[in-house]
Symmetry: none
Subunit: 232 residues, 4 copies
């Protein structure tokens, strides 16, 4: 018995991904169709490994061990290692995901009932929740985008759509009603995203040990965006 037979035990369930994995697996399943148990475990393990060590530094052998399957099994389900990467990230651009976000946005807008501050807080909070839910996938996407044209293209295709939706839904009505100055939509979006991403990175990567009160922090960010640094 030369090579140790991998077992499910080998899966180090240190689950640094938190409950996120369930939402992700659901999204992946929607893309991939029905999955056998082994395939599901491969996907899960690959997300773990890619997110933690990066694509290039992850051996298929490592994924197999973590998934508790034979190395060959991976290649029964995914043509190549790269194919695995791409199909993992794909759900992020699922046609069912972006419209969902758009719909959420619209609902939030209606609920806020014209109160700009409430609206922005809700939007940011929801985006933050989304990021948390898909954190490992997003992390993989961001890490690997630079090195894989396929991923870049997927982003390029889908991102503008999201921006347009956001601009149309949020920005225009409020500029029209005079509650927001006439800023460029691109600047507005970039700024909101930058501030949110900045907070997200600090919270999860730079100072994860610290206690964070998302609601309060988002409130401060929104206030800064709305009122600026200068005293009124």
């Amino acid at each position: 018995m030369p090579a140790k037979k991998p077992t499910a035990e080998d899966q180090t369930n240190e689950s640094s991904l938190g409950g996120a994995i369930d939402a992700i697996m659901a999204a992946v399943e929607q893309e991939e169709g029905a999955m056998t148990d082994k395939k599901r475990r491969i996907v899960e393990a690959a997300i773990h490994c890619f997110a933690e060590n990066g694509y290039a530094a992850t051996a298929t052998n490592t994924i197999a061990r973590r998934a508790g399957v034979a190395e060959g099994t991976i290649f029964r389900h995914f043509e190549t290692k790269k194919d695995l990467l791409i199909r993992l990230v794909r759900p992020l651009f699922s046609p069912s995901l972006l419209p969902l976000v758009a719909k959420e946005l619209r609902t939030e807008t209606e609920r806020a009932d014209g109160d700009l501050r409430t609206l922005m807080c809700t939007i940011l909070a929801n985006r933050l929740a989304f990021a948390d839910r898909f954190a490992p996938l997003v992390r993989i996407l961001i890490q690997e985008m630079r090195f894989h044209a396929e991923l870049r293209e997927a982003v390029a295709e889908n991102f503008p759509v999201g921006l347009q939706i956001a601009a149309d839904t949020v920005l225009k009505p409020y500029i029209a009603s005079g509650q927001i100055r006439a800023v460029e939509p691109a600047l507005f979006l970039r700024s909101v995203i930058s501030l949110l991403v900045g907070y997200y990175v600090i919270r999860t990567e730079v100072l994860p040990a610290q206690e964070w009160d998302d609601e309060a922090e988002i409130g401060r960010i929104v206030d800064l965006m709305l009122d600026g640094l200068r005293p009124r």
Copy 2:
């Protein structure tokens, strides 16, 4: 050596590092001491390769070929591939670099002569120039930080110092004089950095093909920061 704004051309041809490399090499040389010609070429090639393809996906053999040296020569100068990575990035935390930035900040503050908007624009412009000058190193640092504890530690050690300097030099005097509302320094810094980084990424990574007018964009960012979205 003035910062050279990267353009789309740089993305495609072989030397995407542009003139930046000279400033970097000078900084590296200050850390490493006198370098033989071959060692210099190894450093240069490694920066290129790591920045373009990532650390894990770069073979030492590739670096050697690009540097025009034998593969063994790399290991005469750097104990391991990882050692090479770490010593490349080190100049970013050079004791001669951070104080320099601090000094620049002070000079800028004095020059602005109390005009907040001018000051912030100058600061952002200078930071942007710095990023451009050390772009490849910064890119390597950001890409690899997640995977190498040594890099994270170096950042953790040096970053807070920079923040403190910024807070003391810029924020406090202006809050004292009533030109800035009493916001938390952490929030202020995070926001400024987020907005600047967001712009930098968009400009160099997401839409490098577009023409960017740094001065104007920085002006808009500063206005947003100072006045907020709401009409005054």
Copy 3:
């Protein structure tokens, strides 16, 4: 599988291990469990190479070529080159081997029926046969012991047991019956082993070209041991 006396011919042609290899492979198989054909061939080739050129001077690539397998295959079955070495030598300390020797000793003792000379001749002859049978492994063990703590430990663990058995089975009864002077067991054992090893080395390493009559030589050694140099 009777011991085959090595001759000068064996020294020069490729398979200097002669028929010994079969007995060895059986012992290795008992330790390693069922082995694939390729693994068996790796073991065989490694024994050959290590015995002939030493561990440090043997390239895994050489072993692979001799075994007719890909180099990678070696590392599928053995974690490192050193692991291969240690697992090769292990059968020499197999729990199934030492008791076997002890049992042989007892049988020999009984058969000799009190005749000391016959007994000692039988014992030496059997030990010589054992050495011949496992010659390559023994050679590897002796050559590499100095450089690998793991091997030394294995010897240190197992050797004393063998000595004790020998002392209890052979020496004590004969001292008790007055056929042997009251010598220290340690001295006795060391002497017998030294004389036998000395003969073995001369026969196989120093003067392998010469014809050796094992039975007669052992007789002379035993006579010397029993009667000494002085005329009686």
Copy 4:
């Protein structure tokens, strides 16, 4: 300053060779002629390293560091690594060494004045002293002989001479005078050497921690040789 400059400090003077090194260096010097300080240190370091880790596992770089010289310096004094090995061991076969031993033997014989036991004890004690004095060289010789034809040839050329001397000086006269039975010289020599080597190995390699009383042990060995195991 990429590579650390080796200094004399790097010589780990844990001197496992004991005072032996002086006698050896004198012998080497007689072979090599006058030596520069650096060359002497190379020789010393090489003896250390080869004895401790074996020839194949010792890097010239390691020798250089231990000697506190540049790697290139080794090749100024010795054509190749193998040349270094061979010239190190050569003093063991120095024309000045073997006759010396022969002369010692004759002196010992005369002094013993016919008393066989005294003579043999003296001889063994002297041989043991010799082994101790040249231990590292002897160790290297024994370890590497199997792998280097040059060494084997040197042994083959010189060993028989020593045997002949021993036989003529010690054995023949005592057989003639009836103090020793008419045993084969070869058997006699082999036995004495085996017993002595056996003791030496046990004392220095197997149980070096134990306290050894050379004189007493040699006495026991000689008694065993002379009187045998059977009671008289």
